[in-house]
């Protein structure tokens, strides 16, 4: 019971509240960016095939860099999250864990 009481007060701690808000904000923003990225691509396939078939250089259609770009950007997004988490999130977590004492 003691632990639960401690947790209760800790969850009201402003630092912890900020951590939750920050983490949720970044997670959902990145999730939405990924959804827009991928379903934007699917949307082009579904509704605007001619656009993807446009030639940009020689035989290369614009659809090819868009598809490869979606893959590369998805990876970059996970990298952005890692950068944020390593620099900010871990620091905030350390603060909270210090308060818990372990």
């Amino acid at each position: 019971m003691n632990g639960q009481l401690k947790n209760k007060s800790l969850s009201d701690d402003p630092d912890f509240r900020e951590l939750v808000v920050r983490k949720n904000t970044i997670s959902w923003i990145l999730t939405i960016v990924e959804l827009v990225l991928y379903f934007g691509f699917i949307g082009l396939i579904a509704f605007n095939k001619p656009f993807l078939g446009m030639k940009i250089s020689g035989s290369i259609t614009i659809g090819i860099p868009i598809a490869v770009g979606t893959i590369v950007l998805s990876w970059i997004l996970t990298g952005i999250y890692i950068l944020w988490a390593n620099n900010r999130y871990d620091e905030m977590v350390r603060k909270i864990r210090d308060k818990v004492g372990g």
């Binding site: 939750v20 991928y38 699917i42 990876w75 390593n86």
Partner: protein, 513 residues
């Protein structure tokens, strides 16, 4: 008959294959001595680093179907194949942003641990185990049938013998070496597959003066500009979105993938492993595009389709054309290793659902000695392994390609919504979780049965009752809707109260194992 030695037994492929088997068996022997407790059997003692786990995740995810299948699809249909490459990757960022860290912080061995964290254990574990097992079984059937067919194509081995061989080896890895052996099998396989694909792509680009412009213009010359544009593979917008959703969120609901996050020491390593996995998988799918276009030009459609109508042999044929029988032998061994690694991962995930969730969580009400649980997990491994071989025999010659799609649809509909709501939503309840998992699972399976893929193409009816090929859109939203509705109608005070503990552990790792 095209000029190829595919289907004959080569000394090189046998040599590479025997080497792979020997190395993995030595690892299994080494791992067996370190696999006694449940933590060791299910989670490799949490001793895997983030980078290693990233490679192992990539190994778990890149099946022979995706290597040979996507390369084949690109070689025969050009740009349309590329669409699949993208679809198979985009689930990984979702795993990173929403699932990996909470899963690692909240659970022990299975994703059911997380869903059941603050809910009533038995009903939730029973439902989550059903979701896991359904996903694993459909995936396993597809892999086993694919394995038998592929090995027959590549080595000329009889189908049943191929299945027995794959089944026996995978049981040996999991039974004796648990997660530790399985992880190293995945890592070796991932390195072999990435290495093989890189060499193949290099050999192709070498033919075209390392110019993609040259590669694509040759492809266009041979197959007109239709080859460079999206064609008829995805024609219906609803179907396209539905497939996209299933691929994206299914990845975040695959039990054998989720289970891997328990092998690392903490959430930071879990996060790192997704970054590493996404990088390798993305790189690999970009390579398969190069390989597909290369095969289309160098080998040609008539030969590819002549050996296998689905194009599955495009990459091996290309390897033979560019690197001779020695390289073909290597690639055949890689394909075999790939199949083995994926089925081993699936078997371990299925065995954990049976032992950790069903036996200990439901039957024994959470009380069970370490030794007993490991023993049950081992028995479950053998049973599942034998079941996999038998299912492979039963479904011989059937078109099972839809089963991978079905596994993803079930994962996205039964597993993912319940997992996400249990992490994110305070008012989620036991009844809500059970209703969500069951509705998502049943709807995904029933809608696939009524879809054109099964109802028309396999059962042979004239008109499909459900008009779309991919149920994901409908079954996933139903699962979310049912979960929310039932939770709001029958609130569970205790579950909401325990959310505080869950939150601290989820975000700050307080009390995480």
């Amino acid at each position: 008959m095209p000029q190829t030695t595919i289907g004959q037994v080569h000394a090189t492929s046998i040599a590479f294959f025997v080497l792979f088997v020997l190395v993995t068996l030595v690892i299994t022997y080494w791992a067996a001595k370190r696999t006694r407790s449940t933590k060791e059997f299910y989670a490799a003692g949490r001793s895997i680093t983030g980078f290693q786990n990233g490679l192992a995740l990539a190994g778990d995810y890149m099946s022979a179907a995706s290597f040979l299948g996507i390369a084949g699809l690109v070689s025969l249909r050009g740009y349309d194949g590329l669409i699949y490459s993208v679809g198979w990757l985009v689930g990984w960022p979702i795993v990173m942003f929403l699932i990996a860290e909470p899963l690692r912080n909240l659970g022990k061995y299975t994703f059911a641990d997380v869903v059941a964290f603050r809910l009533r254990q038995r009903p939730v574990r029973a439902a989550a185990a059903a979701g896991s097992l359904t996903t694993v079984l459909f995936y396993l059937i597809a892999q086993m049938v694919g394995a038998g067919t592929l090995i027959k194509l590549m080595f000329g081995l009889p189908y049943e013998l191929a299945l027995a061989l794959v089944g026996t080896l995978m049981i040996a890895y999991v039974l004796f070496g648990g997660m530790l052996a399985t992880t190293w099998v995945q890592i070796i396989k991932a390195v072999m597959l990435l290495g093989g694909a890189t060499i193949l792509a290099f050999l192709i680009l070498n033919q075209f003066g390392f110019s993609y412009g040259e590669l694509f213009s040759q492809a266009e010359k041979l197959y007109t500009d239709k080859f460079m544009q999206p064609g008829g593979l995805i024609s219906d917008p609803v179907d396209a979105f539905s497939l996209g959703l299933a691929l994206m969120f299914g990845t975040a609901g695959l039990p054998h993938i989720l289970m891997r996050f328990y092998t690392v020491p903490d959430a930071k390593q879990a996060r790192k492993s997704v970054f590493v996995a996404t990088g390798f998988i993305g790189y690999f799918y970009i390579l398969t595009v190069t390989i597909g276009f290369g095969a289309a030009i160098i080998v040609g459609h008539s030969v590819i389709a002549g050996v296998d109508a689905g194009g599955n042999m495009a990459a091996p044929l290309l390897a033979e054309a560019l690197g001779g029988t020695a390289f073909l032998g290597f690639l055949a061994a890689v394909a075999f290793a790939t199949i083995l690694a994926v089925v081993a991962g699936l078997t371990l995930a299925g065995a954990s659902a049976l032992s950790h969730d069903l036996y200990v969580g439901v039957l024994r009400r959470g009380v069970s000695a370490e030794r007993e649980e490991v023993k049950v997990a081992r028995i479950a491994t053998v049973c599942l392994g034998i079941a996999a071989i038998l299912l492979g025999v039963v479904f011989k010659g059937q078109n099972v390609a839809f089963m991978v799609g079905l596994a993803f649809a079930v994962a996205a509909s039964a597993n993912f919504p319940a997992l996400l709501m249990s992490i994110m939503w305070k008012r989620f309840t036991t009844k809500g979780a059970v209703a969500s998992i069951c509705s998502g699972m049943v709807l995904a399976v029933v809608l696939i049965l009524l879809s054109p893929t099964v109802w028309v193409d396999i059962i042979g009816m004239k008109q499909a009752i459900f008009p779309y090929k991919n149920p994901g859109l409908f079954s996933m939203f139903t699962a979310f809707f049912v979960g929310v509705l039932v939770s709001l109608l029958w609130p569970e005070k205790e579950a909401a109260e325990k959310y505080t503990d869950l939150k601290l552990r989820q975000y700050a790792g307080v009390g995480a194992e």
